[in-house]
Structures are given as C-alpha cells and as structure tokens.
C-alpha cells in the first residue's frame, strides 16, 4: 500500500549519485517528465550540501551515535511525493536564488492615510471591499510608470524593458505558489484591480488558470502582511528584475517633528536583480511607491 513513490532517474544518474553519496530523493529532475539525469547530479555535487532535514517534532529518544554512512531507519517522518508543480517551483527558485545577484532595499511606509481612505471608500462600496493590497497594487503600477527601469527583465543578451505594466501577484495554493498576472495594471482603477485580483486568486486556488494568465509579467508583489509578518525578502521571479515583499501594517512608535508618536507602519522590501537594475533605481522606485501610499489621493487621479 504505502510504497515510496517511484523515483525516475537515469542509470548513469543513479550510479553517479551513489558514488557521490547523494540521495536521489533530494534532487529535482530536469529531464523529460522530471527524470533525474546526470546534469542534475553534477549540479548537486557542485552545490553546497544542504543541512540534513530537521526531524519531525515528536520527542525523539536520546540520540544514538551513528556510524557515518549508516542510514537512519525510515521512521519519524513522511516523504510527500513531489508534484510536477512542486518540482518546477523548486527548480526555478533554486536557479533564481543561486544564479541571480540579489540585493535588498527596505523602506517603512506610513499607511494611516491609505487606511483612512480605504475606510471611506469601503462604506460607499459595501458590500464590496477594497483591501490594502489593492492600494499597494495600484501604487506599484503607478510607481512603475514613474520609474519604468524597474519594470524590466534580464534577457541574457539584453535588458528587456517592458512597455506594458503587467504585475504578477504571488498567490499561495495547496499545490504551491503561483503568480497570476494583472495586465496593464496602471490603466485600471482600484475597483477594477480589486475585482480582477479576487477573480484571479480564486481561480488560482482552484487550479483553473490558463498558462497565459500566469506566464510573463514584469514585476511581482508578494504580500505576507495578513499573516502578521513584519518584513521579509522574497526570491526574484525570473526573468523579472524586481519582486516586492510586503509586510504587515501595524501601529509602531515613530518620531514625528522631534516627538514620539504612533503611526500605522508597513515595511516593504524590494529584492532586485543587480544585473538589470541598480541600487539607485530601486531606491527611486521605492521612494515613488512610498510617496503614493503616504499621499493616496494622488493615486485617485
């Protein structure tokens, strides 16, 4: 019944992995149908070895010293077979983190004005509601219009500057992360953006997105604010140059006019591919974003 899932690997890959002491189950196959091939084993040999997996939280008996090379008996954990989507995510993110020269820029943005505006608008829109994320999306779209250099991708032999502002939104699904795209986001009002994001996210969770709805895009937003995450650094979604990691908006002490005050602050971190976008450009984009969110009436124009 509970046989381990069949592992597809070429005979040569199996032999090379065995010789190098690499567990094939830890590899992602790049061959046809995710088959593990020689190149995957060689990549793993070249890469630093990951720390061994942390055992499940069950209280473990006192550790028994183990001779090197002896495999622990298969108890205390469950191996979940990888779905094709999980393999793709693993491969793409490993590639991105390993090959893209990331740098990170963080700013704090005062969100009281957005929250007040949102409350006003929502009383009129009821029962529909705008989320804070809708405002962020609108601000990012207008920010990219102001700093088009950030709406770009690394194309190996060129820097590709996008002419349309198409923004990918990271959506968590049971299968893993997917990034549906809001096309021409700068030409859409808050209500339209809000409705579109809701529809895309719902279909993303049902697995009903068409490829053209999640392929492409020039910039990604990943928001974990709803989980109370204060700030984080996201991995770039290649070939795009920038991803914005959005944290929670919460009341924090701030200094205003030399006096301590309380404001609702939100930290955002921009992860940037330095091949495509330089630090000053990333900073200009964040300054534009901050300006729009702190004076949100400008976004209504």
């Amino acid at each position: 019944m509970s046989q381990p899932p069949r592992l597809f690997a070429s005979p040569l890959a199996r032999r090379l992995a065995a010789a190098a002491g690499i567990d094939l189950a830890t590899l992602t196959g790049s061959g046809p149908h995710g088959r593990i091939v020689k190149a995957d084993v060689e990549a793993a040999k070249a890469a630093p070895r990951p720390a061994p997996p942390v055992p499940a939280a069950a209280p473990a008996p006192a550790p028994v010293p183990q001779a090197p090379g002896v495999t622990a008996p298969a108890t205390g954990y469950t191996d979940l077979p990888l779905s094709p989507m999980r393999r793709t995510i693993a491969r793409r993110l490993t590639e991105a983190k390993a090959t893209i020269p990331h740098f990170y820029l963080t700013v704090d943005i005062e969100m009281d004005a957005v929250l007040a505006l949102r409350e006003q608008l929502n009383t009129r829109l009821a029962p529909d509601k705008l989320s804070v994320n809708d405002f962020i999306l609108r601000a990012v779209a207008l920010g990219l219009r102001a700093v088009p250099e950030a709406n770009a991708a690394w194309a190996e032999t060129a820097i590709r500057r996008f002419t349309e502002i198409d923004i990918a939104i990271a959506v968590a699904t049971p299968e893993g992360l997917i990034t549906p795209i809001v096309r021409q986001a700068d030409r859409k009002g808050l209500g339209e953006l809000s409705a579109e994001v809701k529809a895309l996210a719902a279909r993303a969770r049902d697995g009903g997105l068409k490829p053209e709805e999640y392929q492409g895009g020039g910039f990604t937003i990943s928001n974990l604010g709803m989980y109370g995450v204060r700030e984080f650094a996201a991995i770039i979604n290649p070939p795009q140059a920038c991803i914005l990691a959005v944290g929670a908006a919460d009341p924090r002490p701030v200094v205003k006019a030399g006096a301590l005050a309380v404001a609702t602050m939100m930290s955002v971190t921009l992860s940037v591919d330095h091949r495509t976008v330089d630090g000053a450009t990333g900073a200009r984009f964040l300054a534009a974003l901050k300006g729009l969110l702190e004076d949100p009436l400008r976004m209504m124009l």
Binding site: P11, L12, R15
Partner: protein, 462 residues
C-alpha cells in the same frame, strides 16, 4: 505592397527550416516559410538523399560483381550512368513533393523567393512583398567552401552538384577532401571503375572519426584501389586540352596527379550573405551565425539553426535544432540544449562508417580513464552469412562511472545501427543496461553487444 503577418517566419526550407515550420504549426503558430530554390534544401535535393540513391546503385553493382561467390551467375555486367543519375534525381523529386505536401497539410504558407531581413521582425521578399513576425528563424544552410584556384568551372572542376549529375564517368578522378562528402563520391565513382585519388590535408582520412576507424577505412578503401594521400597540400592546377593536372606536396614530396575530373569537398561555409544580417545585431564568426544553446542570435526575436549556425553540418542536427528553437519560442519548458555528444554522424561509403560521442583520443584528452571494447564483424555470424565480415565495432566507456562516452562502427549497416548507441547515450545508459539488453540473433547488432561486453572483459565470441 501587401504586408503579411504571422507568428513565425522561417527562412530556408531545408531539413532545419521545414521541420521547424511543421513543429511550429503543430504548436499552433501561424508560419510562413520562405525558400529561394527548392523545398527540402541541399540535403534532399543535392546532398544526403540523392547521394544515397547513387550509392545504392553502386552497392548493387558491387554485389552483382560478387554474385559468383554466392553461387549466382549473371550475364556480363554493365551500367548506364544516365539512368543511375536519373533514378537519383527521381528519388529527390519524390521527396521534395513529399515535403511540399507535409507543409501544406500543416497549413504552412510557403513563399518562393529570396528573403532579406529588413528590420526587426521584418522580411522582404523580392516581388512577393513584406512579411512580419515576432520571431524569425534563419535556416539558410550552407554551401561548399571554395578552394582558391580550384573553383568549380563546370567542366573539369566539380562541385557536389556536377558530381551528382556527372556528364561522364571520369577515367581519373581526384577528390580533394576526405570528409563524409569526399569519401562518398570517391566510393561511388570507384565502384564504377574510375581511378580515384583522395587528397587530404590532415594526417588521416575522415579526420573527425576515431583514429583507429580512420585507419581501418583507409585500408579498406585502398584495397578497393582508391589511392589516398594524407598530409597532402594541393598547390597548383594545370589545365590541358582534355584533362587537368594537380600538383600537391606530401611529406616533402611533390605529387603530380592527372585528372579528368576533380571534386572539391573541403567543407562548407554558411549562407550568411545577402539575407540582411547587417540590419541586425546578430554576429557572424567563421562564416556562421553565432547562437546560444536555444538557437537565439544576439538580435531578440531572431534565431538561427542548422548549417548556417555552425558545425556539425548534419541534417539531423538542423532538424533537432529547429524543433528545440520552435519549442522555446512557443514557451515550452523543460527544454534541454543539444548535447553534441549525442549527435551521430554517418558516412555511406563501402564500408559504412558511423559514430556517436567521443573518440578514444578525445575522451582521453578530457581526462577520462577509459575502458575500450572492440568486436570485429569477422566474429559475427550474420556478417559472415551476408558476406560482409570486414569491419569493427568499438566502444569507449568511462571506467569509473560506466558512462558510454562514444561508439564507433565501421562495416555493414553501420549507419543503421549507430542509433542503438545514440538511444543508449541519450537515456544515459551505463554498461550494465547495455549488457542486460537482449540483442536478437542472428543480427549484425550482436556485434554492438559484444563490443560492450569486450570493454568489460566479458566478450563471448572472441
């Protein structure tokens, strides 16, 4: 003039271009294919296919000459060169019609004319108008590289084209260059009685093949009466009334080679001129367009495949690149660049020569510790029954990993059998799977099995 738009334009209808067009159509792209001469390209019309038709005539003629040893009697042997050539042209014609039909079936728009890039995503075809597409694949192929002073003259000096439609059977033929093309023509004309001399500048014939195979090929050809000069540099040409004389130098010696006809087959050069490359950022190096592993040039939206994109100059490499290029354009994921080690190469002389992967010398140069297997066809029952017991199968394995690094065959049906090793290499088989594979008896392919066994000291029949 009217402007037509499609998803993809393919320039050149050879085995790279027409296959790319069909694959693109299968993936739902609208495709325009522009061809200036004939669908199927050089391969189908003036290369791979018509030479195989000629060599089939040569093979049957040779077998007829050996009929007595099979207990058969024939009348006096004869041949009609014009009819041999006519059959070869007929074969090419039939296949060209086949390609036309396939393109039509796949709703590929075929434009006849010379295409020229006229700006990003734009192609002009004289007399046919302007064509635009976001993606353009250059599959313009290549042509014979000329040897200065030995340019084809339509009379004594032949290019492959005259050699495929010979006006006479030359009494004395000199072939300059001993790659696959030179060797195939040498084999053909020698079979029908021409006195053939092959002149090769490098130190061995079929220089891309394994050294041991090259040496065996030389012995086999010399036994058939083909004269071979290696390390020989052609230095001059004297034209006489009804023949020419080639002066060459080899190892400090001067050679004078009288010839009724001369075939120059010293390699090819990409068709990179007159296609408007100067309007793009694409780079040309050594007569070929520079591309990355997914066939992209430096100009976004412009791709190059096949001979124009560089060696190995093989139709099947062109076709495979065409498929890969189009699949990347269509956004398919998980694509793997072509590993040149998995591209087989074939020479259809008598004997046939075929190989895939590294030669013994190349594998050593890469630092591998080797296990080499050899098995002669003289020990293969089917080869003996066929009366084709000359030749050898040679395998090159990495001693540590058991990876099949290369395989080399000289002998009967070598070109049909090499794909067995190509499949094994692509699947990353080790010696264990090859040893465990059951080869049918009696077949020539058993020699392939034995050559694997031999590499690990386990050959059964030697």
């Amino acid at each position: 003039m009217a402007e037509s738009t499609s998803d993809l334009i393919v320039i050149g209808g050879g085995p790279g271009g027409y296959v790319a067009a069909i694959r693109a159509a299968q993936l739902g792209l609208s495709v325009t294919l522009i061809e200036r001469a004939h669908l199927g390209g050089i391969c189908l019309n003036w290369g791979c296919i018509p030479t195989k038709a000629l060599l089939r005539s040569a093979e049957i003629y040779r077998l007829m000459g050996e009929a007595d040893s099979f207990g058969l009697s024939t009348g006096p042997l004869g041949f009609d060169l014009d009819r041999i050539v006519a059959r070869s042209r007929d074969v090419a014609g039939r296949l060209q019609a086949g390609v036309r039909h396939l393109l039509k079936k796949n709703k590929v728009t075929v434009i006849e004319g010379s295409a020229r890039l006229s700006g990003p995503g734009q192609v002009a075809v004289e007399g046919k108008g302007a064509f635009t597409a976001p993606h353009i694949i250059l599959a313009t192929g290549a042509r014979a590289r000329l040897l200065p002073g030995f340019e084809p003259d339509g009379r004594f000096l032949w290019s492959y084209r005259e050699a495929l439609t010979p006006d006479i059977l030359p009494k004395r033929l000199v072939v300059i260059g001993s790659g696959a093309i030179g060797i195939e023509f040498a084999s053909f004309f020698a079979a029908f009685g021409s006195e053939v001399t092959v002149v090769e500048a490098l130190d061995r014939i079929l220089p891309v093949e394994d050294q041991e195979i090259s040496a065996l090929a030389r012995t086999a050809f010399e036994r058939q009466g083909i004269r071979i000069h290696t390390g020989a540099k052609v230095v001059g040409l004297t034209r006489h009334e009804s023949h020419v004389e080639i002066a060459a130098e080899a190892g400090g010696q001067s050679l004078r080679l009288p010839a009724d006809r001369v075939i120059v087959a010293i390699g090819i050069t990409g068709n990179v001129e007159e296609i408007g490359l100067d309007t793009t950022r694409a780079r040309v190096e050594k007569g070929h367009i520079v591309t990355d592993s997914l066939c992209r040039t430096d100009q976004p939206g412009l791709y190059a495949i096949g001979d124009v994109a560089g060696p190995p100059w093989l139709a099947h490499k062109a076709s495979h690149e065409g498929v890969l290029c189009v699949e990347a354009i269509a956004g398919l994921t998980g694509l793997h660049p072509i590993d040149p080690r998995h591209i087989p190469g074939c020479t259809y002389g008598h004997p046939q020569i075929a190989s895939v992967g590294l030669t013994e010398a190349a594998a050593l140069a890469q630092g591998h510790t080797l296990r080499i297997g050899r098995f002669p066809f003289a020990a293969n029952g089917k080869a003996i029954a066929l009366g084709e017991a000359d030749g050898l199968v040679k395998t090159v394995f990495d001693a540590t990993s058991g990876e099949l690094l290369g395989a080399h065959i000289i002998g009967p049906e070598a070109t049909e059998m090499i794909q067995g090793y190509a499949v094994a290499g692509t699947l990353e088989a080790t010696e264990a799977e090859l040893i465990a594979t059951i080869f049918p008896h009696p077949t020539l392919s058993e020699a392939m099995h034995e050559a694997v066994l031999a590499a690990f000291g386990r050959a059964l029949h030697i």
